[in-house]
Structures are given as C-alpha cells and as structure tokens.
C-alpha cells in the first residue's frame, strides 16, 4: 500500500459521523404531507389602509448611510425573533473528542410581514417566470443604482430584459436581510450557470435596499462598486465573455452585448438585449468545451 492509499484509508477511518439508523424519523408519508401544502397563488393583496405609508427611499446618500449606521447596530442586537443561537451550541461531543470551532451567529430578523414579501420576491425571481416577476412590482416601482452622488432610475423594460437573461442562465438569488433604513437591507448573491460551469461560489459585492408598498415591491436600490445596472459577478462573467470573444466574436455585434468595466479594474462584455436564448446556447457550448455538463 502506498502513501496515497494509506492517507485515504486513514481519512475513511476518521469518518466523524458513521451512518446509523435515525430513530423517530418521520415516515415518508408524513414528510410528503409537509411538502404538499397547497401553494398560495401569487396575487396582489388588498391595500392595508390602516398601516401608515412607509416613507419613500429617495433620500440622499448621506442620509441613507447615516440612518443605516445609526440604527442598524441597535436593531441587530435586539432579539426580536427569539431565535438567537446561543454561543457555543453545536454538535455534542464525547470525552475523547475535540471540535473545530463553529462560528455562531446571533440572528435578528426583519418583521414577519416583510420577510414574507422578501420570500415571495426571491422565489418568484428564481422561478424564471417573467410575467409573475413583473406582477410583483408596484405601479410606481423604481429600480435604482447610485452613480457617485446621483441616484439613477432604470426603466422597467431594462429590468425585464435583464431578467430574461437571468432566467435563461437559471439564476438563483438568495437574500440575507436585516432591518435598516429600508424595509429590508439585504446581502444578495446570484448563482447562475456561469458559476455552475466554473464551480465557483457567488460573490457578495452589493447591498440591496428594498421597500414594499401595498404588498408589492416599491423600490429596489442597489449599492455596488459598479457603475450602472450590471447584475453579473465579474469572476463568473469574465471567463465566459473571454470564451465568446475568442470563439464567437460575431455574437458581439449589433449592440446586443455591452462592454463594461468593473471596479476592480477588469473589463468585459456582458449580454444586454434580447439575446436570452442565444446566451443560454453559448453557455452550453462553453460548458461543453470545458467538459462540464449543465443540468437541464
């Protein structure tokens, strides 16, 4: 037996949690009963007139920062949900065992109503259903990004175009939110086929400020070190764009791709307009060239 086999055998023997029969597990039928709850259809809720209208988010950047920095640390450490994880809680150990330290994070939550709206926003976004997604937006919805000290509002057709590409890339967003200057101040990640091909984790370069009104998304304001509305991770889109430039340069014509600069100094092309299906095909070709199979 050589060193490589010996090392692997030692790892096999070090299995920290050998498979054992789990007592008191739910039956398959019980499990099915919990996952087959009827899904609530997406619909516009009736406006709640008794609730005071939330203040608009269109405030200056300085006010934004001041409010966030002044209020959030206080709110964050108030246990409003009762689900704070006690420090030191973790897997039980035996007398012989030692445990690699586990980071424990006190949890503070946004209010349940907002949490439900955020959940609906995320699940609808991830569904890839453009019509359902657009139905979540308030009639006065605004998608905003900061450019230096100016707040730029993007038209909703830009949003729908970007969303179509996101759907074609099977994009999944996740949000972790805390209370703050907006109804929810969130750290988003996007995980799409570009990440899947490269097997890299999503990056966390931006912060979203979301406000809701009448149960619909009213403002979606973004803080990121990019100029404009670029949803892609530079680490994920750049290798793909480089492949397109090298192998399908004809695709870049006609203003359908946009040359953009990221704050780290890198630049690349990103898909822009009406080419969702073509982008999906290109990603599939790119994946094939790297020997990666993407799930249908």
């Amino acid at each position: 037996m050589n060193d490589i086999d010996r090392a692997f055998d030692r790892l096999r023997e070090a299995n920290p949690e050998p498979t054992r029969v789990v007592e008191d597990k739910p039956t398959a039928r019980q499990m099915l009963a919990t996952v087959q709850r009827p899904r609530t259809p997406l619909q516009r809720p009736e406006p709640d007139r008794s609730r005071p209208r939330r203040r608009a988010l269109a405030v200056a950047a300085a006010a934004f920062a001041a409010v966030v920095f002044a209020t959030v640390p206080v709110l964050m450490f108030v246990d409003r949900s009762g689900d704070e994880v006690p420090a030191g809680e973790g897997p039980s150990t035996t007398a012989l065992s030692t445990t690699v330290p586990q980071t424990t994070v006190p949890v503070s939550s946004i209010d349940p109503e907002t949490e439900g709206l955020v959940d609906t926003f995320v699940s609808t976004y991830n569904s890839g259903d453009l019509e359902a997604f657009m139905a979540l937006l308030h009639p006065d919805f605004r998608r905003e990004t900061w450019l230096d000290e100016d707040l730029i509002t993007h038209p909703s057709d830009t949003l729908s175009t970007l969303y179509e590409v996101d759907a074609a890339l099977h994009t999944e967003i996740t949000l972790v939110c805390v209370p703050g200057a907006a109804d929810a101040v969130c750290m988003p990640t996007r995980f799409d086929d570009l990440h899947r091909v490269l097997e890299i984790p999503p990056s966390e370069v931006t912060t979203w400020f979301l406000t809701f009104e009448d149960g619909l998304l009213r403002t979606w304001t973004e803080r990121r070190p990019n100029v404009g509305l670029i949803p892609y991770d530079a680490e994920a889109v750049t290798p793909f764009a480089n492949w397109v430039v090298a192998n399908r340069p004809e695709m870049l014509g006609g203003s359908r791709w946009e040359f953009v600069f990221f704050s780290g100094g890198s630049d690349t092309w990103i898909p822009r307009q009406g080419i969702a299906a073509e982008v999906a095909e290109l990603v599939s070709e790119w994946a094939d060239s790297l020997g990666v199979t993407l799930e249908e």
């Binding site: 490589i4 090392a7 790892l11 070090a14 299995n15 498979t19």
Partner: protein, 179 residues
Amino acid sequence: MSSDEATFARLYDEHYDEVHAFCARRVGWSDADDVAAEVFTAAWRRIADVDLSFARAWLFGVARKVVLNQWRSTSRRGRLRERIAGVRPSQPEQPEAIVVRRAEDQDVIAALNDLRASDREILRLAAWEELTGPEIAVALNISLSATQQRLHRAKRRLAALLVPEPPRATNAAEGEAQA
C-alpha cells in the same frame, strides 16, 4: 399512492439514514434533521428528474447544495451585519465543524481542512459517503474522467500533507558519512 409518491417513499426509506449522516457530518447532528428534511423536500419537487439507478448519488448532490446554502446563509448574515456596522470580520470563515471522535484522527481532519474546498468535497464523498466514481460524477455533476482526475489529485494532496518530511541528516551524521 401515485407512482411519484411511491418512488419518493422508496427513496426516502432506502436513503434517509445515509442522507441524515451526510448532513450530520457537515452541520452537526442537532441540525441534521432540518437539513435532511430540506433535502427530501427538494427531492420531492424534482422527483421526475431522478435517475433511480443513481438515486443515492443524486440525493447527495441535492444534499450538498442544501448544506452549501445553509453555510452561506449563516455566514452571510454575520458578514452583512459587519458590513453595515462598518467593521471587518473578526476572524476568517471557518471550515465546517467536524467532530473529531478520536485523538489520532486529528491530523487527518486537520489535513482535510487544509485542502481546498473542491478537494475536500470529493474526498468526503469517496471516503465517508462511499460513493463510486460514477456516483461522484452524478453528485458533483461532472464527467467521470474529471471525477477520476480530481479524486486522484485530491488523494495525492492529502497524502502530501500527512506524510512527514524525511528526516534531515545532522551535521554530525553528514560528517560521519563523509568520513
């Protein structure tokens, strides 16, 4: 019971304990129930996609994603709080908690934690989940040849971390040899 439900029940009965152990190894026994439930919820939603000849590997692939999401969510909540508060994280993100049951296993677990994430994952799937090469390919959604290459590379790196450096000759010994 529909055929989908029957398929699900079979998957659940045959593999729940293994999936639970997979989760327990990564998130600890106390959270494994919840994570395993999430895995089977995802499995039910995608029951039509399951290739029954690789069901176990497919479930581990789902479990892997659920566990990754849980880690991301937990660590991100902390980082978001720090970002808003304007402070830097006080310590680097830890690898997953691994309970080391035997003192003599500590160095192999430490070596595992020193490897990069993709090496760790493929080694665990092979050593602890006891997946075959084709099953690992399904769980990681990569080709069989890529699986074999990566597994071999990861084993080699693990061995390199565990094998002690050969003892260096002392000056006296060198002197004797020269004499």
